[in-house]
């Protein structure tokens, strides 16, 4: 799994996640995002366009991050979910509790 900061737009820190978010890699995702959050980035856009797979461990990490940000009056938006990742978000109801957008561009427009 690769996690990279791909830019900043209107105060939103953009992170791209590629690969798989499973029980092995989810803790790394959580730690990397917490590092950025603790460094002051409390408005995040997470681009999942290259994320191929997510399990409940991945959802758990995303929820932890979302709760952490909400407590700091921050915000997270996820975008470009595809295939099985999109399916997992929808059937778990996560797409209704965490803002989801089609693309980074449309997420930025919604700010």
């Amino acid at each position: 799994m690769e996690i990279t900061n791909t830019g900043k737009e209107k105060d939103y820190f953009i992170v791209a996640v590629a690969g798989r978010m499973d029980a092995v890699t989810a803790p790394e995702f959580e730690n990397r995002l917490l590092d950025w959050i603790n460094g002051g980035e409390i408005h995040l856009i997470v681009d999942l366009g290259e994320l191929e797979y997510i399990s409940s461990a991945g959802l758990r990490s995303i929820l932890t991050i979302a709760k952490n940000l909400k407590a700091k009056q921050g915000k997270i938006m996820l975008c470009a979910l595809r295939d099985t990742v999109k399916e997992v978000f929808e059937i778990s109801g996560f797409s209704t509790i965490i803002p989801v957008s089609e693309s980074v561009e449309s997420a930025i427009k919604e700010i």
Binding site: D22, A23, V24, E52, S55, S56, E87, I91, I97
Partner: protein, 149 residues
């Protein structure tokens, strides 16, 4: 190889999943369905890693069997007696602060597998998942209960 046994630890997850994926590929499932099978397998395995052997080491075994109608995947462990299928579904409508993630893994298993059974066999937990080649729909099925295999 039809069976694999490994210590029940998360560092073995990838190898165990690859075993199941290899059999799913051989059985001719499309990629989208293989990802669903992968997810179900991960959720079962991670549950065993986390809960089967509290304070102890133990193994997990997986057997795959291709049938005319699809793939049967059997997970077994000698951990504490536990039927993961008994775990209640999470509340999918709860908002972010009320949301508990417990139960989400087994919920995915029930959604992705066409059939799921549990039995206790001596000192083993045995959990069987069946993935039909021609699946009926996205809804999870009820566990079939007593089945002659």
């Amino acid at each position: 190889m039809l069976e694999i046994t490994s210590p029940a630890r998360v560092e073995h997850l990838e190898r165990l999943i690859q075993f199941v994926v290899g059999h799913a590929e051989k059985a001719g499932f499309p990629i989208h369905r293989i990802k669903e099978i992968e997810l179900a397998a991960e959720e079962i395995l991670v549950n065993i890693f986390n809960y089967a052997y509290p304070g102890l080491e133990g193994d997990v075994s997986i057997t795959c069997r291709a049938e005319n109608t699809g793939l049967m995947v059997e997970f077994s462990d000698t951990g504490v007696p536990f039927n993961i299928l008994d775990v209640p579904d999470p509340d999918l409508t709860a908002d972010i602060f009320d949301r508990k993630v417990g139960g989400l893994g087994v919920f995915f298993v029930k959604e992705m597998a066409d059939e799921a059974w549990y039995r206790r066999e001596g000192d083993r937990n045995v959990l069987v998942l069946v993935f039909d080649t021609h699946r009926q729909g996205a809804e999870g099925r009820e566990p079939a209960g007593d089945v002659e295999t």
